[in-house]
Amino acid sequence: MVVLAHIMNTGLGPFYDGLAHLFLTPEDLLPVIALALLAGLRGPVDGRVVLFALPGAWLAGTFIGRFSDLHLAFPIVAAVLTVALGALAAADRRLPLASVAGLAIALGLLHGAWNGSELSRARSGALGSALGVACAIFVVVAVFAALVSSLRVPWARIVVRVAGSWIAAAGLFMLGWSLRAG
């Protein structure tokens, strides 16, 4: 059964549907990568905080969206957040740890609520899907933040910042599409 609106039915159950969901939904994947890049640029401590804060907040947001009747302009807000995170990574902005944690929690709650509002139409498998998404986020953040924080040569940081700018650019287009559809 297709549990999430943007998810393909992997045929392997709700957990793997949720796992695949992140990688098949650029609106969710891009801001996660942007935040992981930003956290990696800030260092291992920030990376570790995001590693647990983001999936945790995403799970919490999923349950909030699942069991409440939220009517937010999710696509538009998500696009704005994607632009902001990509731009912060591109600027290699020095942020306090609390700010990075706050961004992770905000991103997790927002996108989690978005996913959860779509899950409200599912009759079963919602918990499995939510856990699958959270695990996928954990993996993505772990890989990207760890790789970036381990970079030592200056040009490598520039490559990361360029990637952040690409994500911000994609986010701007996402905003345009959302405004056009809305």
Partner: protein, 203 residues
């Protein structure tokens, strides 16, 4: 393991992961209508027009001539402002003279490479950004029917960035005297091509 081989190993792992995660033909279990075509359409759109290709590469060439930080700042500025222009196109904001603007971008950027122009960094970035709006607006209004808009956008942001990188790679020949001359010739070619595009746009 030497530092260079460690870096190469890490870069190859990153690239492998990115290809696996972002390449829709492998990452999608089932393709909903238009997703794969959206990304591939976006990826191919910047290279479908010679005017786009020359302008994107010229940004990289000019950045390489100017050296750091312009070398990476200009290719960062262009996609972001281009996306802004694309957003304007998507929401229906009309811009006059898009094709003329694109032609002028080839002329302007080609001339900058030809004459090895060295304005202040903010002026170079502003010039590149100005031209990027026209390219973005054109991309934003040319989405093929049935394609996924978000994936299309991601595709051509990536293609644009790779074209800039190509220009930077070519522009590294600037370190040699013969390379400097070759770059200036390339700039002249881009500028003259821009004149041809301008002629086409006006007639």
């Amino acid at each position: 393991m030497t530092l260079r081989s460690r870096i190469a190993h890490r870069v190859s792992r990153i690239v492998s992961f990115l290809l696996l995660a972002l390449w829709p033909a492998q990452a999608f279990a089932h393709v909903r209508g238009g997703e794969a075509t959206g990304f591939l359409s976006g990826l191919s759109h910047p290279v479908s027009g010679l005017d786009h290709v020359l302008a994107m590469i010229a940004v990289g060439l000019w950045g390489a001539q100017l050296g750091p930080p312009a070398m990476w700042l200009l290719p960062v500025t262009f996609p972001m402002v281009m996306a802004f222009g694309g957003t304007l196109g998507l929401v229906g904001v009309k811009l006059p003279g898009i094709e003329v603007g694109i032609a002028l971008s080839a002329i302007g950027l080609g001339a900058a490479v030809l004459f090895e122009a060295r304005p202040k960094l903010w002026i170079a970035a502003a010039l590149v950004g100005f031209f990027a709006i026209f390219h973005g607006h054109a991309h934003g209004t040319e989405l093929p029917a049935g394609a996924n808009g978000v994936l299309y956008s991601i595709g051509f942001v990536i293609a644009t960035g790779l074209l800039h990188a190509t220009g930077i790679g070519i522009g590294l020949i600037h370190r040699w005297p013969a390379g400097r001359t070759a770059l200036r010739v390339a700039g002249a070619i881009v500028a003259f091509a821009g004149l041809a595009f301008l002629w086409q746009a006006l007639t």
